[in-house]
């Protein structure tokens, strides 16, 4: 059996790893977070500092501001998309401390000291991340709106598999999960693509997975 994963499991990660329900009693990241302010909302902004794509950022935010809106509105990093604003579509997926999360389901003030990677941090038009390049090559997108979330999720999924985290379709919970089409599709199912590029996205991820293992 692979070494148990660190217990700071986000809700997103729990969803991705449905069989990991034994961990559900652990409060996600409890030890790392200051208790959210109990002040009257909106009157007094709160200072928060975190690292975004390798750069330290300090913001004054409304306590109600989601991490998604802090990225999009306060930092003008609009690559992270708002598709539903309540955790149903995955378009806002970013990678926080190496783990993918829905940035709409978490408040900016909860991320003091965190390391956040957005789509802009993975690569730029002239210097694409291998996953971005694979999406272009396999036409793993159409309108492009879910795409940053798909790509962030895909990058994190490969890390989850490497870390030995099983999913709902893993045949053996104690064996290292394999990089099968079924595993990838299951783990990517929190990222909706209404244009229906799934078949191509699967090929893009498989190509990157194949070349990196």
């Amino acid at each position: 059996m692979p070494k148990p994963v660190k217990l700071e499991v986000s809700r997103r990660r729990l969803l991705a790893a449905g069989t990991a329900t034994a961990m559900a009693g652990v409060v996600p990241g409890a030890q790392a977070q200051p208790h959210p302010s109990r002040q009257k909302p909106s009157q007094r902004p709160t200072g928060v500092s975190f690292e975004v794509n390798g750069k330290p950022r300090s913001l004054q935010v409304d306590n109600r501001t989601t991490l998604l809106d802090a990225l999009r509105e306060n930092l003008s990093l609009t690559g992270t998309k708002k598709g539903c604003d309540h955790g149903q579509c995955g378009a806002c997926t970013v990678i926080v401390n190496g783990v993918r999360i829905n940035s709409c389901l978490t408040l900016a003030v909860m991320h003091e000291g965190d390391r956040i990677t957005t789509i802009e941090g993975l690569g730029q038009p002239e210097q694409l991340h291998p996953m971005q390049a694979a999406f272009v090559k396999h036409d793993g997108y159409q309108c492009g709106y879910c795409t940053p979330g798909q790509i962030c999720s895909a990058v994190a999924v490969l890390d989850e598999i490497k870390a030995g985290i099983p999913s709902h379709v893993s045949p053996d919970l104690t064996a290292p999960p394999e990089l099968t089409n079924a595993e990838l599709r299951e783990r990517m199912s929190g990222n909706i693509c209404r244009c229906g590029a799934y078949s191509n996205i699967a090929e893009a991820i498989a190509e990157v997975a194949g070349s990196s293992t």
Partner: protein, 739 residues
């Protein structure tokens, strides 16, 4: 340029760039999150305020009173706009219900106010402080009930304005009565939501009486015109900008409340205002595909030839709305001398029904292609063979009117061979794989080719760069890329030397994106502009344009050759033209064809359906870019899988709204639902449709898919479900016994 006779050989036929697989030219922007969508023009709109829309909490009735004071006093609030203080508003030509309701309420979640504040959080919180007292009224929310008294309705898009509401050929009733083999069944399709990933969003900024709106809209000129009408301002004062659109599928064909409320909010606040519709507003505030009740009757001879066919459909919409034209394809798809099609339209008070990907044909084919499967079984005939036997090369209602090209039979035959159709068991419920019941299904695909005028401007710079400007939109369809390919082919330059600018009302009016007409029409407009630019280049270079060849950045004629860029003097060379359409669609029926094949497995214990394989074979004229065209088809197949198995807006018939109005309640296919998909394009060039010789595929791809899934499920289980979606509750209690 007018296209009024079949296309001759032209520079596109070289297919050096057009017709070749090319990755999307905007791909690096989309995959890095640097393509700006409607809400994201931070660089051009500084200091925006944020608007939050309040939606009606009743389906029908009146606002008795509205108390704004608390919201107006809330932190950061700059303005609150309602119908009472917005001033006189008009209604756009393409809108059925008003986009700002009050005091009368036309439907649930109709916008009744926008709260503008300094921040999104402040606007959202303040919007919740508006107190509304309603006087609800009884509404018509039950389609089945409403159809009992609904009158016949004409096809609003029919070119024959005086056509009777029923279409009749021969004597259906008599022929059906005498037919040796008969089918008479009722099929239902539910209300469906486009649920594109980007909710409607707009930024509005006034500069004096000039208004600029950055928005997410498929049809720039329609939206701009209707916004001007709604606000009562001259159209020239409104600019619409929509370079990237996060999906539409028909939901963004029209002006919607985000743009109107952003414009009104910006006026009231004296600041640019951004408004995005919250996800839970999409089904009830915007449009949806209307539910249908369809009766199909088919009478056939023992040889499988159709003698009589009738397709009657009923749907509902708000007052002054339109029917879902679900019987369209039945007038053209199969042969048969005696025919009847008709539609009924019930006036209802549910939110506005309107076009969603392949309006008419998508739900129509969902029913018709199950009916064909049922007929095949009654005839003990293979479903592929039944369709082949009933092929027609002419319009069955007007036999002197041929199809421009019709390769349905080849699609079916090639698809059957590729899919391994001979392995299908003709007896349903007979194939097992462990605890799975396995079956195969097929359906024809059919969607008409539509022609819409389309303009473009092409500029040639001294650097040899070709710039294309048109208000055409790219909603994921690949417009950027196929337009670049067209200009590159026409001007004889590398595709990397072409810059494409789309989605701005400052550019020539194009076809826009809808009805799968965008690819063919918009590239034809670019073709027309390029022909003019070629003439201008030839004139400058002193070359006869009719004899000139444009290739590799050179213009050649006989033994003369010149650099393309040398034709440019000071500044740049500019040409503009528009493709207009003559009567070829009257003398030739123009349609696209395909065949879908699906393998499905049904869990014999739970009834859960899993799609194992999907194949589509398409015959749709020249395929301009196999990469983007294939993506359109697999996307349509995915949406068709959703229609077959999960998509349904549930109606609260008492209070009058769609209950499951978000992406958790309204289920769409996810990665786990969709297997590897295969698409085959038959090599074709249709010279009757345009100089591009291309038709569309984006809607063809969805037509028939759901029925192919339904037929595969039936083949697996032996239980016929005629009410979409095929959820497990509809067949679980009738599945073959678990042995």
């Amino acid at each position: 340029m007018k296209f009024d006779k079949p296309a001759e050989a032209n520079p596109i036929d070289r297919m050096q760039v057009v017709g070749r697989a090319h990755p999307r030219i905007e791909g690096p922007l989309k995959t890095t999150g640097t393509a700006p969508y409607a809400y994201e023009h931070h660089d051009v709109v500084t200091n925006p305020a944020y608007g939050a829309i309040v939606g009606s909490a009743i389906g029908k009735g009146r606002i008795a009173s509205m108390t704004l004071a608390e919201a107006e006093r809330a932190p950061g609030v700059l303005a609150v706009v309602t119908a009472e203080n917005a001033g006189k508003l008009g209604k756009g030509k393409f809108n059925t219900a008003k986009l700002l309701g009050g005091p009368d309420i036309d439907h649930y979640h109709q916008a009744i106010a926008v709260v503008v504040a300094e921040t999104f959080e402040q606007a959202t919180a303040a919007a919740a402080l508006i107190r509304v007292e309603y006087a609800p009224a009884d509404g018509r929310f039950d389609l089945e009930e409403a159809l009992k008294t609904a009158p016949l309705a004409k096809d609003p898009n029919s070119p024959e304005k005086d056509a009777p509401p029923e279409s009749r050929t021969g004597d259906f009733e008599q022929a059906f009565a005498q037919a040796p083999v008969k089918l008479d069944e009722l099929y239902t399709t539910p209300d469906q939501s486009h649920s594109m990933m980007e909710p409607h969003a707009s930024i509005a900024a006034w500069n004096g009486d000039k208004l600029t709106v950055w928005t997410s809209n498929q049809m720039i000129d329609w939206g701009r015109t209707d916004l001007a009408t709604t606000l009562g301002v001259p159209k020239e004062n409104v600019r619409f900008v929509s370079p990237y659109i996060g999906g539409g599928f028909g939901c963004k064909l029209f002006l919607r409340s985000d743009a109107v409320m952003a414009a009104l909010g910006a006026k009231a606040a004296g600041r640019p205002v951004r408004v995005a519709l919250p996800r839970p507003f999409i089904p009830n505030n915007t449009t949806h595909r209307p539910a249908t009740r369809q009766r199909i009757r088919i009478g056939a001879g023992a040889d499988g030839r159709i003698i009589a066919i009738a397709h009657e459909s009923g749907s509902g919409d708000l007052p002054d709305g339109q029917p879902e034209t679900a019987t369209n394809q039945t007038r053209l798809l199969y042969a048969g001398p005696n025919r009847l099609t008709s539609m009924r339209l019930a006036v209802m008070d549910l939110p506005e029904g309107n076009a969603m990907r392949a309006p008419g044909e998508a739900p129509g084919m969902m029913a018709l292609e199950i009916a064909m499967d049922e007929l095949a079984e009654r005839l003990s005939l293979d479903p592929v063979e039944l369709r082949v036997r009933n092929d027609t090369q002419v319009d069955p209602e007007k036999p002197d009117r041929p199809f421009s090209r019709r390769n349905l039979v080849r699609c079916l035959r090639e698809g059957a061979e590729r899919f391994g159709w001979t392995r299908r068991s003709a007896t349903p419920g007979a194939v097992r794989d462990g605890h799975w019941l396995v079956g195969m299904g097929t359906a024809a695909a059919f969607r008409n080719n539509l022609l819409v005028p389309s303009g473009a401007r092409v500029k040639l710079g001294r650097d040899g760069l070709v710039i294309v400007e048109t208000d055409m939109t790219d909603i994921g369809t690949g417009s950027y890329t196929i337009i670049a390919q067209t200009a590159a082919e026409m001007m004889g330059v590398d595709i990397g030397r072409v810059v494409v600018r789309l989605g701005d009302s400052a550019f020539p009016v194009s076809s826009g994106s809808g009805g799968q007409f965008g690819a063919n029409c918009s590239t034809s407009g670019v073709y027309a502009a390029c022909v003019k630019l070629r003439e201008a280049v030839a004139l400058r270079l002193g070359i006869n344009s009719a004899e000139a060849t444009f290739s590799d950045g050179q213009v050649m004629s006989g033994n003369r050759s010149a650099k393309l860029a040398d034709a440019v003097g000071e500044g740049e060379l500019v040409a503009e033209d528009k493709m207009e359409w003559g009567g070829l669609d009257k003398s030739y029926q123009q349609s696209t064809f395909g065949a879908h094949f699906v393998e499905a497995a049904v869990d014999s214990f739970t009834g859960e359906v899993r799609i194992r394989r999907m194949l589509a074979v398409c015959a749709a004229g020249r395929i301009l870019n196999p990469t983007t065209a294939r993506s359109q088809v697999i996307g349509a197949m995915t949406m068709g899988a959703g229609a077959a198995l999960m998509e349904e807006l549930a109606v609260d018939k008492r209070r009058g709204f769609f209950v499951n109005h978000d992406l958790a309640g309204y289920e769409v296919p996810v990665h786990a639902d969709i297997p590897h998909q295969e698409v085959i394009f038959l090599e074709e060039a249709d010279d009757k449709v345009s100089p591009m010789k291309a038709k569309g595929v984006a809607e063809l791809g969805i037509c028939g898919v759901a029925a192919a899934v339904a037929n595969a499920v039936y083949n697996a289980t032996g239980v016929r479900v005629r009410n979409y979606p095929i959820t497990l509750d509809k067949h679980l209690n009738r599945l073959p016994g678990v042995s």
